[in-house]
Amino acid sequence: MLLSPEETEAVALSLSIAARSVAFNLPFAIAVAWLLTRAQFAGRTLFDAFVHLPLVLPPVVVGYLLLVVFGVRGPIGGWLYEHFGIRLAFTSTGAALATAVMSFPLVVRAIRISLENVDRGLEDAARTLGAGPIDRFASITLPLMAPGILAGAIIAFAAGLGEFGAVITFAANIPGETRTLPLALYTALQTPDGDAMAARLAAISLSLGLAGLLIAEFLSRLMRRRLGR
């Protein structure tokens, strides 16, 4: 099955945006998972609910809120544009940001479960052996969370390939910039004689999603075996 240049572009863009969204996600998701699992603070429940909001909000609402905050006239977007000339709305980086926000709760969930399964007794043992808090996190906690982090990353990547509502609202449907697989599919459906292209794009989406899930399962088995579980 040969792809047209347009289709290749959409696939490449989807892969790139999904990968960048994962990169955005991970550091924050690890920090938030740690806060929600280990830290005691006022308003924890509210914070937990806030983190999970993208799961229940219509994606269009998320895209709209991103425009309000990160648009060139928004408080953060305006500041970024003024001081660094960085524009997020209607760019591929913006699409990656929108994708990241949508998949954030999924990643936090996966990482949080793996952190809850880390035996605190191992951290105590490391402490009696002379390891400080950051050292303990880096040498014991983080490696033991690795299967969860990996699973979270792959799920986010696979889901990120198909993010539609938030992306089209915040980053629009610009060919070569923000027209990812689902946006290209949507566009094809709006075009006369686009049926064949839509079918091909749907098939590609399906294969990519399936491959992502299979790779996730394979890698997490491999890691578990290395940890002897």
């Binding site: 009696t128 940890l227 579980r229």
Partner: protein, 366 residues
């Protein structure tokens, strides 16, 4: 010398304990499950904050509640071995062993060498493996090695054998004996199995409901009625200590205990070695006259110290066998009456050699 004085309240449980552990030697913290032994270890190691008290090792102050001194656990240099080994599953045995060593200051002394620990604990074939490929006993040996290689000033062993079956315990105990004899540091050994204490410790701190109820050398504590309550009537027996005087070819050793020489079964005994023996109270026969023509190897002259009521229809007779050594004998109340056992009466204590097992401590200076 480790000196501990600690207080901690948890819900309606209060721990309030003071004891010391000399250098070298094993001090056993003995008590039922739930008496606060493991909590105490966490407090000493600094893994749990204490409400008050003081912890010192030699001249070093590690915790003082009134002066608000509390050295972080990672700087206390206490080697802790937990009941569940707690090896790092993502690291090889070698990396586990080196974990503490790698975190020492560059200028810190390293008197305990990797190769010595590996050979002492028999870890030669294990260093390349991963923790999940080890048996329970092997895991505990690696955990001991890991604690030692962090160059600690003392060891806190929190029921290291409790999660092992009988066969695995027997496999690890000789290594604990070797470790005790090889390193000159205080070792605190938490246990609720008296046979482990007998093999390893010379001092016993008896804990009950968060308090120290008895504290002293093992011979004294072994006769304490509060210990009897914990170990159960069938395991009651005085511990006596002595030195090997003779060894014969059949594996029997003559051990000087007080004024008597006691014959015991002892594998690989060396003349001069210190031996601890527990003489179970139910294995001691009391005779008012010197008996003849018996198979019993040990007939020891004794003086009755006291006769106290015991469980059921029996009495517990405390017997002084000279040289500050004391035995316990459980006899029926009727036998006690017929022999007219009263304080200061001269009697003979009969003990079958095969009922005794000696436990060796250290190797005598050549």
């Amino acid at each position: 010398m480790l000196r501990v004085e600690l207080r901690k309240r948890r819900g309606n449980f209060t721990l309030d304990v003071a004891f010391s552990a000399p250098t070298p030697g094993v001090t056993a913290l003995f008590g039922r499950s739930g008496c606060g032994k493991s909590t105490l270890i966490s407090l000493i190691a600094g893994l749990l904050p204490a409400d008050g008290g003081r912890v010192t090792v030699g001249e070093d102050l590690l915790f003082d509640g009134t002066r608000h001194v509390s050295v972080d656990a990672r700087h206390r240099r206490m080697g802790v071995v937990f009941q569940d080994a707690r090896l790092f599953p993502h690291l090889s045995v070698r990396a586990n062993l080196e974990y503490g060593t790698r975190r020492l200051a560059r200028e810190a002394a390293r008197p305990i060498a990797f190769d010595d620990v590996v050979s002492l604990l028999g870890l030669e074939g294990l260093v390349a493996r991963r923790p999940h490929q080890l048996s329970g006993g092997e895991k505990q040996r690696v955990a001991l090695g890991r604690a030692l290689l962090a160059q600690p000033r003392l060891l806190l062993l929190d029921e290291p054998l409790a999660s092992l079956d009988m066969a695995r315990r027997e496999e690890v105990l000789p290594y604990l004996e070797r470790l005790r004899d090889a390193f000159s540091m205080p070792i605190v050994y938490v246990s609720h199995q008296f046979d482990e204490v007998l093999r390893l410790a010379t001092r016993v701190v008896l804990l009950d409901a968060g308090r120290v109820v008895a504290d002293g050398d093992i011979a004294t504590v072994s006769r304490d009625p509060r210990l009897r309550a914990i170990v159960g009537p069938d395991s009651v027996g005085a511990v006596v200590a002595g030195h090997v005087e003779r060894v014969d070819a059949s594996g029997l050793a003559g051990v000087r205990v007080g004024d008597a020489e006691v014959t015991v079964e002892l594998d690989g005994a060396v003349v001069g070695q210190r031996i601890q023996i527990q003489v179970l109270a139910r294995d001691v026969i009391v005779a008012s006259e010197l008996p003849r023509g018996l198979s019993v190897r040990n007939v020891v002259a004794a003086r009755v110290v006291s006769v106290t009521p015991d469980a059921g229809r029996s009495v517990m007779v405390e017997l002084d066998i000279g040289g500050a050594s004391t035995l316990l004998a459980r006899v029926t109340a009727r036998a006690s009456d017929e022999l007219a056992l009263v304080a200061d009466k001269r009697v003979w204590a009969l003990i079958k050699a095969v009922s005794l097992r000696g436990h060796a401590f250290g190797v005598p200076a050549a």
